[in-house]
């Protein structure tokens, strides 16, 4: 989507390996979010950031860490991937207004 990109779009990885997903924005928005989408669960918040180096946990944060060293980039890391982390991951950005913009999603498969 305009102003926000996620990479990679698809990834297959082995159990136990580290994985990093990247979210990049060009909107200079303060707030960035990582969600995961699973059938029957909708989208659930993993972690979010409200500024450079300012992050906090969401409702499903176990097994994930994040970093935001500059405004435009928000990284999601799976330290040791497990099959339960097979999912579609979405990044979203928001200013102080009402709108959200979502990335195109990353489909991660852990085998």
């Amino acid at each position: 989507d305009a102003g926000i990109t996620q990479s990679p779009r698809h990834k297959v990885t082995e159990t136990g390996t580290p994985v990093t997903l990247r979210c990049h924005q060009t909107e200079n928005h303060r707030y960035m979010y990582w969600y995961r989408q699973d059938p029957g669960h909708g989208l659930r918040l993993i972690h979010y950031s409200y500024g450079v180096k300012d992050t906090d946990k969401g409702e499903v944060s176990d097994g994930y860490s994040v970093s935001r060293s500059k405004t435009e980039d928000f990284l999601l890391t799976l330290e040791s991937a497990t099959s339960s982390q097979t999912s579609v991951y979405f990044c979203a950005i928001s200013g102080t207004g009402r709108g959200y913009t979502f990335g195109s999603g990353t489909r991660l498969t852990v085998v």
């Binding site: 979010y48 409200y50 906090d56 928001s94 102080t96 009402r98 999603g105």
Partner: protein, 121 residues
């Protein structure tokens, strides 16, 4: 914590007909935003319509309208003159309007589990 419930996992409608998707939510706040998002097979999340709780008038966007019942905490989406391109997963979402000096946690979206809409030709 806020919760959002979509009680219809799947719905179907005939092309050109009208369909209503249900959403209820639970909150102790008086001001907030409600959203409907559409997710077609392309996986992209598309904003359909937005409602501000302090506005009594129901939001409308072309063929899409909502029935916002604040006291009942209900926020249903009506799609009129359904088209094949309306087939998608639809998510209802809630967002607080309060701001915290320490961070942005109240700006997060809380989603329902979604309703898969099928449009039959």
């Amino acid at each position: 914590a806020q919760t959002v419930t979509q009680s219809q996992p799947e719905m179907s409608v005939q092309e050109a007909e009208t369909v209503t998707l249900s959403c209820t939510y639970d909150t102790s706040e008086s001001d907030y935003y409600l959203f409907w998002y559409k997710q077609p097979p392309s996986r992209q999340m598309i904003l359909v319509i937005r409602q501000e709780a302090y506005k009594q008038q129901n939001a409308t966007e072309n063929r899409f309208s909502v029935n916002f019942q604040k006291a009942a905490k209900s926020f249903s989406l009506k799609i009129s003159d359904s088209q094949l391109g309306d087939a998608a997963m639809y998510f209802c979402a809630y967002r607080s309007t309060s701001h915290l000096n320490s961070g942005g946690s109240n700006y997060k979206l809380t989603f329902g589990k979604g309703t898969l809409l099928t449009v039959n030709p």
